[in-house]
Amino acid sequence: MKKVKQFVDTLLAYVNSALLIIMTALVLWQVFTRYVLKNPSTFTEELVIIILIWTSFLGAAYAFGTRQHMSLIFLKEKLSGIKKKILCVFIDSSVLIFTIFILVMGGQQITTGVAGMRTPILNIPKSYIYSSILVSGVLIILYQIYNIIEDFKMND
């Protein structure tokens, strides 16, 4: 279990880092084509937006896995023992439920809903964009299950 999580963590870390580098490079390329090649690239903007959406949702999933999303922690710090355990399980379950309904069910609905539609410049299927939220949702579910198990094991 732990090994699987570590593998997913590492994979996501590499993918996200690579996507960030690619985006930076593409934006610089756009400036380069305009000023040096004098022939501005027309596709970069659309491509960069698609990569940004993927980076954002995959990054969000990674941040759930590594518990790095912003939250208020007063209550958690105030409680201890079983009460704290219940609170942590409740919080992580809320994340899980939101993910199931919005990211996964909604993501599935929207990805199939745009079947056949294509982006205006690159002419690639819009489902390639919307599926990012679905993939992210599945990853967050896995992470949250792991987090909830961790919550149960927690002892202080």
Partner: protein
């Protein structure tokens, strides 16, 4: 269901009133918004208050493509979008984004009111919406910072900002210029700094986006006339009585007529204001432009049978 809120109205009587949500992304002073407000008023009048329309202007609910998806899902009932936004759903709408398919304004009006366009409106029924009517969005021409455009040769080497659709970049390529796509909000400074040499739009862009301050030449090549289209959700449409449908159709048609003079007035005002900013307007011989884009139109006609059908029909309308 489907974005309509049904509430029984009065005691015992079977009168049901529905409120339909209409979203668009123009401001509340825009002629098309005024026409949509008129449409809402007329619908309510003609249905004795049974059908009410609630308008969400300023893109509050999202961009054109987002609102179209919301309409399919049932969150909104009606929306006004540019014909270009509909090309993702129905090839035929590409016809309106192609250059020089309409001879002039009169020809444009006649074509938009012809049976082929009405047929096109109904083609998307199974995709979740149908077209009701169109609004005039004027003719789009080139406006540039440093020199007027009189022939396609004048576009050579110039970077022109176009809308982010394939038909528009293809058109620029056919005319010899370089297409640049960028956010509308960045256009002003890009024109100022020479990142782009010009844009293409109707006259109101000179004043609304203040582009006239930095682009001093507006050349009337009038390459495209891309209408706005009012669409309604198929589910909502089917839930209405025949009388209500008739009332909506009439109100839509009236609002189109209502919008035409308003649009002309706003263009006139824009031209006067732009002239006082120092913008020069020049007439253009369109023949070389039409010749330059002929192969591109040929290509689109060959690739999309619906486009060919519409263009052929437009040719017979005089």
């Amino acid at each position: 269901a489907c974005g309509t809120q049904k509430s029984s109205n009065g005691s015992g009587s079977e009168q049901k009133s529905v409120t339909l949500k209409l979203a668009h992304n123009l401001n509340e002073q825009h002629p098309v918004h005024l026409a949509l407000a008129e449409f809402a008023k007329k619908v309510e009048e003609k249905t004795n208050g049974q059908v009410k329309i609630q308008i969400f202007p300023n893109g509050q609910l999202g961009s054109e493509s987002e609102v179209l998806e919301q309409l399919q899902a049932g969150a909104v009932a009606l929306t006004k979008v540019s014909a270009t936004a509909l090309t993702t759903y129905e090839d035929g709408y590409n016809a309106f984004s192609l250059p020089y398919v309409f001879n002039d304004e009169n020809h444009f009006y006649k074509c938009m009111e012809s049976d082929v366009v009405k047929e096109l409106y109904n083609k998307t029924k199974d995709k979740g919406f149908i077209g009701l009517t169109y609004y005039d969005s004027g003719a789009r021409s080139f406006y540039t910072a440093k020199k007027a455009i009189n022939t396609p040769q004048d576009l050579k080497g110039l970077k022109i900002r176009v809308m982010g659709f394939k038909s528009q970049t293809d058109m620029m390529q056919a005319l010899g210029g370089t297409a640049v796509s960028m956010n509308y909000g960045d256009v002003y400074t890009a024109l100022q700094s020479g990142v782009i040499d010009g844009c293409e739009n109707n006259e109101t862009a000179l004043t609304i986006g203040k582009h006239g301050e930095v682009a001093k030449y507006f050349s009337y090549d009038e390459h495209t006339r891309i209408p706005d289209i009012l669409v309604i959700s198929s589910k909502v449409w089917d839930s209405l009585t025949a009388d209500q449908q008739k009332a909506i159709q009439e109100a839509a048609k009236d609002s189109t007529e209502f919008q035409k003079p308003l649009w002309k007035k706003s263009v006139q005002e824009a031209v006067e204001q732009a002239k006082s900013m120092g913008v020069k307007f020049n007439d253009v011989d369109k023949k070389p432009f039409k010749e330059a884009v002929a192969p591109m139109i040929e290509k689109y006609s060959n690739e999309m049978i619906e486009v060919k059908k519409l263009l052929d029909a437009f040719k017979t309308i005089q």
